[in-house]
Structures are given as structure tokens and as C-alpha cells.
Amino acid sequence: MTAALDVRGLTTRFDTRAGLVTAVNDISFSVEPGRILGLVGESGSGKSVTGFSILGLIDAPGEVAAGEIRVAGTELRGLAPAAMRRMRGSKVAMVFQDPMMTLNPVLRVGDQMAMAVRVHERMSKRAAWARARDALATVGIPAPEERLMAYPHQLSGGMRQRVAIATALLHRPGVIIADEPTTALDVSIQGQILAEIRRLADETGTAIVWITHDLAVVSSLADEICVMYAGRIVERGPAEAVIAAPRHPYTRGLLDSVPSGHAPGQPLPQIPGSTPQLANLPAGCPFRPRCPRATDLCRTTPPARGSDGREVLCHHPLEAA
């Protein structure tokens, strides 16, 4: 079975005043159809840059420096801009944290969705509207005909994000990359969207890369988790396994930092220090300065090790429970 999305050795760099910064450093992952991959990390981990790199949305001074990005077997790197535009939207689509990145404020929802349909497929306006209506219904929007006639500002934040997701679904792409799509939403609305996304993956076979900082969301939504730190994937594995028994000290620390499950009022086990600055990374393991298990060995780049679909980038991984 071909993976819906297969990324090998992706490396993205930015040329900044502080020097050449590697935002994404040699990462590899793949997602099967109908599966949800949670890409977890804090600010500066490179999780969003990964999403933008896959869609060819990295502009100067940034550059995808190395790697392969295959969507349903088609290599995206090196595609001509026009071919890339055809892929984007029809085979792989993106949902942003702010739905207004996708929505045009001066067009009716129906008009812009129909336009998005007709960019990639020849069909009548009427058929395009029908397709837009179906897409809205797919993401659980009540009374889709009415929503088609609305302007984005007439919709609530949660409704706009659903419209953005529906727009991403118009061409039934094999892969959707969602970058913190529920972060700005209220928890009760987030719950609704997570439920729809799960159903969507199960029913349509769309592969989803869910980029987030929120471990709780990932643990209840994703099939597989990749934890990113300073541009690298430091741990990967099936969601339940990683959450239940993390092997990288960073993943452990991240899970422990969340208050739920700790006695109220007691100090939380915390990771010391700040999230790393990419321009100024230590040699070897980037987590070394904050890591309780660090030794001199960690001044060298840790190898990837693992089995049973799990992998950890660490010299001193925690034992499997």
C-alpha cells in the first residue's frame, strides 16, 4: 500500500541575520490513508515549517534544502510552480490556525468555494455550488445552503474553521495538513471539530497531519505521534504507546508539565530552561542543556533507535514500561 504522504530527510533552512538556521533538520515520516498523524512540538520546534515545506510554501529567505516529499507516490520537490499549484488544493491541502488565511473576506462562502472547485476541475457553476454544499455537509455544518450565501465575517470562529476545512476537502485530497486548526477555538467547539475530523479520516480515507502544541488533543485524536524538538523528530510511535510510556526525556517532561493528573497546588515537574533558539543550538543533542539524563555522550548527535514502530532520538532513552 502506498503511503498517502511520505516525507524522507526533509531539511528546511532560513538565511537570517543570525546566520543559516536549520528550522527542520532531516526529518522523515509517512502517513497511511485514513490515518491521523499528530506532529507535536513547542514554539521553534519546526512543526509549522514542516507543514509549509510539504506544500511548497517556503519563500526566501527560506529554502527546502534536502529531502523527498511524496504524495501518493508523486514527488513534489522539483515540480514546476504550475504543477505544484495543481497538486496543492487537489491532492494535498492545508488548514491554518486562522481560517481567514484561506477565506476571502469580500466573497460569499459559496462563491469562493465554487471558485476553488473550478480552479482544478471543469464544471458548471451550479455543479460547483453543489460540490461546495456537500463539502459543508461533510464537516457537519447545519443548513449548508444558508452558509453558502454568508460572508465569512457573518460566521463564528468555529464555523469559519469548518468552512476552511470543507474548502480543503473540496477535491477530496489524499492528504490534509492542519496547522493548529483548533487552537484559537473554544473547547466546546474544538470538541465538535475533533469529532468531525476523526469521522472524516475513518470514512473518506483522507490522511491527516495534525500539527499542534496540545498533547491532550493529540492523545485523543491521533493514531501516531511525532514529537519535534529544535527541528528534529525526537520520538515517534503509536499515540497510545507514546503517551503511556514515552521514551525520550523531552516527551516525558512535556507530559509531566500538564497539570491534569497531578495533585492540585503541588509543584509540577517542570523542564528547566527555555525553548531553544535555533540560531544558537548546542552541539550534539539539542535537548542536552535541559535534560535530567544528559551525560558527556550527549555532546554527540544521538542515533535513532527503536523497534515495534517506535523510534527515539536519544543516547539515554527511558526504558519501556
Binding site: 513547542e42 514554539s43 463564528s156 470562529g157 468555529g158 464555523m159 473554544d186 473547547v187 466546546s188 467547539i189 474544538q190 470538541g191 465538535q192 475533533l194 469529532a195 476523526r198 502544541h213 496540545d214 498533547l215 491532550a216 488533543v217 492523545s219 485523543s220 485524536l221 491521533a222 493514531d223 499515540a239 497510545e240 503517551i243 503511556a244 517532561g253 512535556l254 507530559l255 509531566d256 508539565s257 500538564v258 497539570p259 491534569s260 493528573g261 497531578h262 492540585p264 497546588g265 503541588q266 509543584p267 509540577l268 515537574p269 517542570q270 523542564i271 528547566p272 527555555s274 525553548t275
Partner: protein, 340 residues
Amino acid sequence: MTEPLLKIEAVSKRFSRRPALAERLAGRITGRPARDETVHAVTDVTLEVARGEVLGVVGESGCGKSTLGRMVAGIHAPSEGRVTLAGQPVARDRGGHVTKLTPNVQMIHQDPFASLNPRMKVGETIAEGPRQHGLTPPAEIPAMVRALMAQVGLEGAYANRLPHQFSGGQRQRIAIARALAMRPDLLVLDEAVASLDVSIQAQVLNLFLQLRRDLGLTALFISHDLSVVRHVCDRVAIMYLGRLVELAPAEELYAAPKHPYTAALFASVPEIGRGRRAFHPIEGEIPSPLDPPPGCPFHPRCPMAGPRCRTEVPALGPAGPGRAVACHLEHGGTGAEVAA
């Protein structure tokens, strides 16, 4: 029982916006006259905070928790009701111009990238309040700044730097130091850890817990994050669409929520370790505070709503020791029972 430090008495806040001239003209031409818009941000909220207590205020967007916090911090004045600190009003409103009357309430904002003056050295940001109010003799100000920075876990030598040289977590520590410099009786924390990375959030929560132990802080802790509130608060107030719907000691609330909204909110939050599961999100959308529904604000989304809920606003009434709920289910029934 001692007199509570903070008293919020039957407070309401409305924001009115008159349409601009151009909008009124456009309305006249299109035949859809533009009307004054009134946002009912907070409606009839009564709360008390005892000295040394941390009260959590929880709710989703449009619930009025931030407006409530800003009234306590003296940035807004209530449209109705009173906010008093140790018996004295916090702010005065003269013709729409609000003047804060006390330095004894200090606020910590959500976004540490916006809450520090980008062109002022952080030491000066910390020092200017106490200097202005004569809390610290001028000669002792540098020492005070160093001591405060140490207290929040920052090197005193960083006092000469500008905010953009600090990370988000460090900035939030600076904002805390600025608030503590005024030696306030009450802190208002408005989503103070919401914009921080998870690992940094834990550090700042620990700092808050430590300061609370050391200084006996009293605080209003506003947040949408249920697990954070549970961790640091003694009592929790749940707000929905401008109204207080439930008030209870934290542990009891989390163990057994009584308001259907509170229960639904808890059920819809994903939690680590519960595994992948079917979600139980609350149906429907949050109504607009421009046009709140009649009766109980939650009735359009409430699975238990009856006829009475659609017409009569439930009052906040006692529901066990130290607890209060605004729900007809607890107080006389929804009217559905009669029909059935």
C-alpha cells in the same frame, strides 16, 4: 468570618456602540437602518474573594470573564453594581473616562509580547510604578528591582535589557515582577499562562504557586483551561454568556459538576491518558452576547432544558455547602417534569 477582600456586587457591564455616520447613511439608503449595538458582556454577577484565596473564573469566549477581570483591575467601570476592594471602590467613571483609584489591584495579561512596552528597559518597567507612587525610596529602587527579578527567577543583570530580548516565559515573569512591585492586595491574572509553551507554562504555574506560599497572594485567576484552574485555584466560578452559572470549591466542582453546562464542558475537553475516544462535544454554537437568548442563556444547547428555561432566567441559588448553581433543575424544576 472576616470581611472578604474583594466584593463584586450585582455587577453588569454593557458596551454600546452607536453606528458611525456613514453606517447610518448607508442604512438609510438600503432601507436597513443601523441600530445601536449593545454587548451584554457581564450580567448581574456577585462574587466575593477572601484574603489569601485564589478564585478561578472559567468560561469560553464571550462569557465575560475578561471583562469581569478588567472591572476588578479598574480598567473598566461597571454599568451597574459595585466592585470594592477592602470596602473602597476600585475605579471611578466620569463621563466615560475611567480612573483607577487604587494601586492595590494589579493585573497580569495573557500575551507577554503585548503587555510590556517594547521600548522600555524591563528594569524601568518594574520600577516606574513604585517610584510614581512613592512605595520605594529612590535610592532603594535598583535593589528592589534586583530583588523582584530574583524572586521571579530572573538574573538581576537583565534589568537593562529590552523586552524583545526575552522569551515568552521570561517576559511573563517580568510582568509578574511588575505587578508584585506595587505590593498589591489582589492580583488579576487574565489567561496568564495561555500563550506559553507547555513546558514554560509549568514553570510559570510553579512560580505562581511558590509566590502564593511565600506572599499569601490573593488572586482572581481567569482561564479557559480547566486543568490549570483545578491545579491552582481554591474555588471556581463558571461563567456562560455574561452570567455566573456555577460556583464551588475546586475539588467538589471537578468531582461533581451540577450545572449542565459545567458538566458538558468537562466532558468535551480532551485529556491526556484517556486514550482515543468518541468525543461528546456540546451541540450548537455559543450565542452572540449582542443578542443573548431569553431565559437561561444555556437553554438552546442544554439537553435538559424545559419550558421554564426558555422564559425565566434561573437565579444563582445555594446547592450544598459552599456551592451555588444557576439552574432550574436544582431550584424547582424546568417545567418539563409537569408536562411529562
